[in-house]
């Protein structure tokens, strides 16, 4: 896992939802941050646009911060294997 990507995603989560980045531990449940499933989908759409990636079709819910980071990381590595995240 690219540490820089991980910090970047956490910053983007914090900015998007107006949350303190300090609250974003790996095992933090997103629901505990007041984020519901539709809100998370909206955030992931923004990630798709910003990072030029596409989420998988999987219906498995993203329950924790690490689930979210893992899904974005997976998409970036599959779809832009050499490109740095800007």
């Amino acid at each position: 896992m690219d540490q820089e990507l991980e910090s970047q995603i956490k910053r983007m989560i914090a900015d998007h939802f107006g949350i303190d980045a300090e609250r974003l531990a790996a095992d933090t449940e997103v629901a505990s941050l007041g984020i519901d499933s539709l809100g998370m989908i909206e955030f992931m759409f923004e990630m798709e646009d910003k990072l030029k990636i596409r989420m998988s079709d999987s219906r498995a819910p993203l329950l924790t911060v690490s689930d979210v980071i893992a899904e974005i990381d997976r998409a970036v590595r599959e779809q832009h294997p050499a490109a740095p995240v800007s």
Partner: protein, 411 residues
């Protein structure tokens, strides 16, 4: 609920063009879900939907269909069958003061999108002058009243997936209270438009169909379910006071045994077990029935990951040990989710359970989910089952929960 009966049934659905065909389709486990072939189909991420069979415009008559959105045409076709069934097209006098209660989630969506294309995408200077009256949400109810000269209360309910269940329940209350002898109640939906597909796709709650067999896309309660399948259609019932029905010698399909309307009041989309339990308990109380007296549940059963688990838990909590002795099936597996018309179509399936002893299956249930462990009547219908009371659930976006109970007409 006392003294309200069902004297007419009518529908147009993805797996049947009328009530008799619907019963046969349920008995055969027949799916009406398929890939759509509209010009925009190539733009869909998940191409599977319940499309109405046949051409309801032919039932209604092409001249009458001019200036009507599809949602109204479907409604008129279903109402025509229901009124024929009730003997009220032949003898329409009782319709003079009839109430018309219609549920719809999106109303004239096709018309609204066509208008949008005209003024937004083609920069048209003017749109179809009928856009307002074609597209308005009350168009179906208004056109029904016009066609059948119904001067009673004319209401349109828009509560997402509970719309038509609420329409039927509220119409039953109206009849029970003596404010109407006859009510035409049900729902209609025609939302298979590009805009609606894209909107639902964005929520990541639509089923991912197997391209080789899209008819299997809707898998309620199955471990491999992936979401709901949108569908169109219309279903209507004629409700009447028992006294009025007997006086005119009408055939009674079933009694409206009970009804409850509740709201979760907690979240716009997330299913709430407490809210669902309260609704079912409230309907049982309205029917003066113990849980053990329910012989069949037509589940809301949309095949979403969260929804099916929540509903299973709700049924367990309300029915206890009886939950495991009672068949629970989702007919959405065969016809898809008709959104605003779902409650009415599924109420008709519930009426067929008490009238004909037909327990519809949940098809596409090949891989059971351990979290959903009730008897969902997997894949094969059961017939000739004696069912005195059956319950139908509709749990909606916006938190509305509507529960209807149908009871056998003869004791």
């Amino acid at each position: 609920m006392r003294g309200v009966c069902v004297t007419g049934l009518g529908l147009v659905a993805p797996n049947a063009a009328n009530v008799a065909d619907f019963g046969a389709a349920l008995a055969a486990g027949c799916s009406g879900v398929r890939a759509i072939t509209a010009p925009f189909a190539a733009r869909l991420a998940y191409n599977a939907a319940g499309v109405v069979v046949g051409d309801p415009a032919l039932v209604v008559g092409k001249p009458r269909c001019a200036g009507l959105d599809r949602v109204v045409i479907l409604a008129l076709a279903a109402v025509r069958e229901a009124l024929d069934d009730a003997g009220l097209r032949a003898d329409p006098a009782p319709l003079d003061r009839a109430a018309v209660y219609v549920g719809t989630g999106m109303g004239g969506q096709g018309t609204i999108e066509a208008g949008f294309e005209e003024y937004q995408l083609r920069n048209g200077e003017r749109v179809n002058p009928l856009l307002v009256v074609k597209g308005m949400n009350n168009a179906a109810a208004a056109n029904i009243a016009i066609d059948y000269r119904c001067h009673g209360p004319n209401l349109t309910f828009s509560t997402a997936c509970a719309s038509s269940a609420l329409a039927i329940g509220e119409a039953a209350r109206l009849v029970e209270a003596g404010h109407a002898d006859v009510a035409i109640a049900g729902g209609t939906e025609a939302l298979l438009t590009l805009g609606m597909f894209k909107a639902w796709e964005a929520m990541r709650t639509l089923a991912i169909p197997d391209p080789a067999d899209p008819s299997t896309a809707c898998k309620p309660f199955a471990a491999d379910r992936t979401g709901l399948v949108l569908a169109e259609g219309a279903a209507f019932v004629v409700l009447e006071s028992l006294e009025h029905a007997r006086r005119r010698g009408a055939r009674v399909h079933a009694l409206v045994g009970g009804y409850a309307a509740r709201n979760d009041a907690i979240h716009l989309t997330r299913p709430d077990v407490d809210g669902q339990c309260a609704a079912m308990r409230s309907a049982l109380a309205d029917a003066a029935l113990a849980p053990e007296q329910i012989g069949y549940i037509n589940a809301h059963g949309t095949a979403t990951i969260a929804g099916d688990v929540a509903e299973t838990e709700s049924i367990r909590r309300v029915f206890g040990a009886h939950a495991y002795r009672m068949p629970v099936s989702s007919t959405k597996s065969m016809h898809g989710h008709l959104i605003g018309a779902a409650g009415a179509l599924e109420f008709i399936a519930t009426v067929l359970a008490v009238r004909d002893g037909l327990v519809a299956p949940t098809i596409n249930l090949r891989q059971p989910d351990p979290a959903c462990d009730l008897d969902y009547v997997p894949n094969v219908a059961r017939t000739c089952v004696r069912i005195d009371h059956a319950l139908s659930n509709s749990f909606a976006f916006g938190g509305s929960n509507a529960v209807l109970i149908a009871s056998r007409a003869e004791p």
